[in-house]
Amino acid sequence: MSSSLDTSASASAAQLDPARIAAAKKGSWRPLPLISSRKLRWGLNLAALTYIVLVYYSVDINWARVAQGFDRGLNFVGSFFTPDFVTRGGEIAVGLRESLTMTFVATVIGIALAIPVGLGAARNIAPRPVYFFCRTLIALSRTFQEIIIAILFVAMFGFGPLAGVFTLAFATIGFMAKLLAEDIEDAQNEPMEAIRATGASWLQWINYAVQPQVMPRLIGLSLYRLDINFRESAVIGIVGAGGIGATLNTSINRYDYDTSAAVLLIIIAIVLMSEYLSGYVRKWTA
């Protein structure tokens, strides 16, 4: 048998396997294994086993510390039933306002910049050099977590929400541009040729042939990204890029779990709300 992962090929090979048919006639039948080659199958099993052993020995767990942490964990879970919105209410309000404004501004800027980058990264409409430049930009933006970018931007622009805005906008470019470019690449070619054939200018062509095909998804993705940016804004505050993350981080480090729980509950509530809203908006625009 071939060492192929392709199940359809192995099935058609086995379909003519007289031994299996004869066995089934006598009443003994086992389903075909997912991987037809015995060597590959055992090789993979062995590799998985080795990996488990290796991981087991490379994770050094301090069980005494874990047991101790268990109580704290229960405390933390308990805090969700007694969240404290009041004691640090001022800090929470300031952090939240900063997070929300950062999120909105960064999403708008990020999408505005992602559109040209996305157009440039679509193989079917961009010239080669532009394509490679945009794809590199996207890869860079997508590889590095927001927090890493935030560290760099804080080093450049100083502490505060502006670094946060730049961080989230940069991350938005990578996310939106990639999906936009894929959408454009998947768009139907006939309308594009038809509009080009009318003698339309490049911008008219984009407006009439490309935009109508990608717009509904673009709106949906924008809302989704708004949601993601809000969640990320809770993180980048840890390294000084503004937002509710700083409040959260301080409360956790003080073991003030009641306040942490309050902040987390607010985040969850806002994410939930935005999901409901985006469901409605998607219905309108679909």
């Binding site: 991981v55 490379s58 994770v59 704290r72 590889t143 890493i148 450049m156 929400p161 805005v165 969850i268």
Partner: protein, 270 residues
């Protein structure tokens, strides 16, 4: 298509006047909101810092290039740890997410109350970044790989759970009906008609999440939850930007490889 008549001449318009006003109003409000938000940010920003931002950026890049390759060898073990955090975290998260998805899917949930509970767990897990879970866990069980793995697992539950329950809700109902009509028990109906239908989606979702988790686990070290982020944090604190650059290059190549693996596997199963 709205058409207006002026002196019996039909004039084609894209929208009715009412729609047109609504759209203008929408844009107006949106722009106002943007300006308002920008003002809040601007008030909290020390713009003087920005005047030398280009100098800062240039010096930062200057110190990062060329990367300090001498530390590459010592980064291999943390990189291995990072991959383990992502892999074990994904496995743990998936194990929990799998039954949760069946509780959360409208067509397989045993009880509406259980469905609400499962959906609550999923949205909580999704709303909170792995890094926040990591901070919490480090304060609870101490720094190390375990905190990182659990943080990744907790974040993965929501992601895998949500995509999987959506996949369950989208299965074809007729095979379920057929298996039910043979007199099979509830568990048999799940195992024989639902499970085969969602397996490709399940494999794809898991590998996709693993790919994302590789990225996320590169930063968990910043808060002490193990992996290559620890070295990055140390290098940043020492302002050793050449070393930071080396870490960046390693992260970049690891992520590219994991993305390639994930794409390959997803292609194979679907």
């Amino acid at each position: 298509m709205p058409v207006k008549y002026t002196d019996n001449q039909p004039i084609w318009m894209q929208r009715t006047p009412r729609q047109q006003y609504a759209i203008w109003l929408g844009w107006f409000l949106g722009v106002m909101l943007f300006l308002l938000c920008f003002k809040v940010i601007s008030d909290n920003t020390i713009w003087e810092f920005l005047t030398d931002a280009h100098v800062q950026a240039a010096s930062l890049i200057g110190r990062m290039v060329p990367p300090d390759w001498s530390i590459t060898g010592s980064l291999m073990l943390p990189l291995w740890d990072t991959i383990n955090i992502a892999t074990v975290g994904t496995i743990l998260g998936t194990i929990i997410a799998f039954p949760l998805a069946f509780l959360a899917a409208r067509n397989t949930t045993p009880h509406p109350a259980l469905r609400a509970f499962a959906l609550g767990v999923i949205v909580s897990s999704r709303s909170i970044n792995a890094l926040i879970w990591a901070i919490l866990l480090v304060t609870m069980i101490g720094p190390g790989l375990l905190a990182g793995m659990i943080a990744i697992a907790l974040r993965s539950i929501g992601f895998v759970g949500k995509l999987l329950y959506e996949a369950i809700e989208e299965i074809q109902p007729t095979p379920v009906e057929a298996i039910t009509s043979t007199g099979a028990g509830n568990m048999q109906v799940l195992a024989w008609s639902v499970l085969p239908q969602i397996m490709p989606a399940f494999a794809g979702i898991t590998v996709y999440r693993w790919d994302i988790n590789i990225r996320e686990s590169t930063t968990l070290g910043l808060v002490g939850a193990g992996g290559i982020g620890l070295q990055m944090n140390a290098a940043i604190n020492n302002l050793a930007w050449g070393q930071v650059a080396t870490v960046f290059v390693l992260i970049f190549s690891t992520v590219i490889v994991s993305e390639w693996v994930s794409a390959k596997v997803r292609h194979a199963v679907i």
